[in-house]
């Protein structure tokens, strides 16, 4: 698979960074990730908006211009010939002479085979646990997953598929996904604050607003235990039902009707998306 690194197209296996890069020295960098479906980068403008916002918030300057970035995406899709894929952008703090102050970043674009959730997870839902934590600059897609990766063992030991962060009584997000629940009264609720603003989350909010009452607000952990339905959203996972939280069943302990309906609507929305030209 061909990748792009600092102005050069090269085989992904040859893409290397010197150890003075600030990602290696200080975990300092941002990234983004979007899907390519039928050769079309889905919701590309939304992902690029977020990517440039992340770069700006983190003080990463001299970032590649948007038209050039879009051209790289087009080139990689065309030259790799993998119409169903994930595309990852990484921008690091660069080769910092003092291993602390960011300089002009190293910029990588790489395409990857998609690993989608197993059919059983989609159809039967997943179990999750909770953990007290809040990402440090949650609105930015930094590369810092120290906590998420560290919690893999705890998740595995609990036979859980993901871990929902909460702090000061409020739930926020999963390491790589957003959280939604449906109350017993049928209202869709998702946390407003201390989260990464997922593109799939945004799509679900757009779709749901014509389907059921929606609230975007602070959400207490107790409300999760009392929910009728729950699900997570992400670029690769789309909508994935949650049927157990901390060993307590969510609602009836199986994927609920609102969750399933929203998933179908989301699929329809996506299909419409990649049938229109994106990079005109």
């Amino acid at each position: 698979m061909l990748a792009y690194l600092n102005g050069e197209y090269l085989p992904l296996e040859d893409a290397k960074l010197h150890v003075s890069d600030l990602a290696i020295q200080r975990g300092y960098g941002i990234f983004d990730f979007f899907r390519v479906s039928e050769g079309v980068p889905l919701y590309l403008e939304d992902y690029l908006n977020r990517f440039y916002r992340s770069a700006e918030t983190m003080g990463l300057e001299d970032v590649i211009a948007r038209p050039a970035l879009k051209d790289i995406v087009t080139q990689l899709i065309r030259r790799n010939g993998v119409p169903e894929a994930g595309m990852k952008l990484i921008l690091t703090g660069g080769y910092s002479p003092d291993a602390y102050h960011p300089v002009k970043g190293n910029f990588l674009v790489s395409q990857h085979n998609l690993v989608l959730p197993a059919a059983a997870q989609m159809n039967e839902g997943i179990s999750v646990i909770t953990h007290p934590y809040r990402r440090e600059i949650p609105e930015v897609k930094t590369i810092n997953y120290i906590m998420g990766v560290w919690l893999l063992k705890k998740m595995h030991d609990a036979h859980a598929s993901d871990v929902l962060y909460h702090r000061d009584g409020l739930v926020s997000e999963f390491p790589r996904c957003n959280f939604f629940l449906v109350t017993r009264q049928g209202t869709l609720v998702t946390p407003a604050n201390h989260i990464l603003h997922g593109i799939t989350r945004m799509r679900v909010l757009e779709i749901a607003s014509e389907f059921c009452p929606v609230e975007v607000r602070d959400l207490r952990l107790e409300e999760v235990y009392d929910a009728a339905e729950a699900f997570l959203t992400s670029t690769t996972k789309s909508i994935l039902p949650i049927v157990k939280v901390d060993d307590r069943p969510v609602g009836a302990g199986k994927p609920g009707p609102v969750t399933n309906a929203l998933r179908d609507l989301l699929r329809q929305r996506e299909r419409a998306e990649y049938q229109k030209p994106q990079l005109a």
Copy 2:
């Protein structure tokens, strides 16, 4: 300068990692850093103890054995011929096939010229600001400095030299240094919890215990504003006086007598250290 990477000695400028490394993908890795003085790695066993503890806590397995690591340190000191230097160990999450689960880590040892604090900072002390934050797994020396690096601009704008973290009313540490204060009653206090256990901090506690009353406990932010003296400790900075916190003078607004006395005692202790053989 020669470095060591995964079994090989090579010029530092040739030390590269493939972009699939978990430090680049997820900011996942640990490190440690010690000083070499007169060709002797100072307090090496303490730093190695911490390095192996960090690796274990973060679930990094298959780590290089201690005798082999000590041999690399000796080799680099001998072959580089730089008797006054810093030595950095970095162990990453490795080339993770799914860019999330840690595998056998990449291990780097690199030697660097020391950048010591300016004489003016040592003699006149520094200004610091405070910021609400607590590192996620504070007892581990992870590579995650997203917050510390991000705060450089805020520090710079405030004409400050460092930033003291606090949360829930308790101060903890600086991004790369520990914190001490001397109360108006002459007691030395340093935070007990939510910190990285610095080796220089440990040395200062050993030395101070024969010099003045010492308390290792939770420390409230208000106590900082009310302190008679304050200083930070780190491997490169040793003891550095703090004369201003959030624009309020600490005590008389100049380095205090306890701070200066401890600094002299610490220097004597170090001198004794590198006059005895370390890697016998």
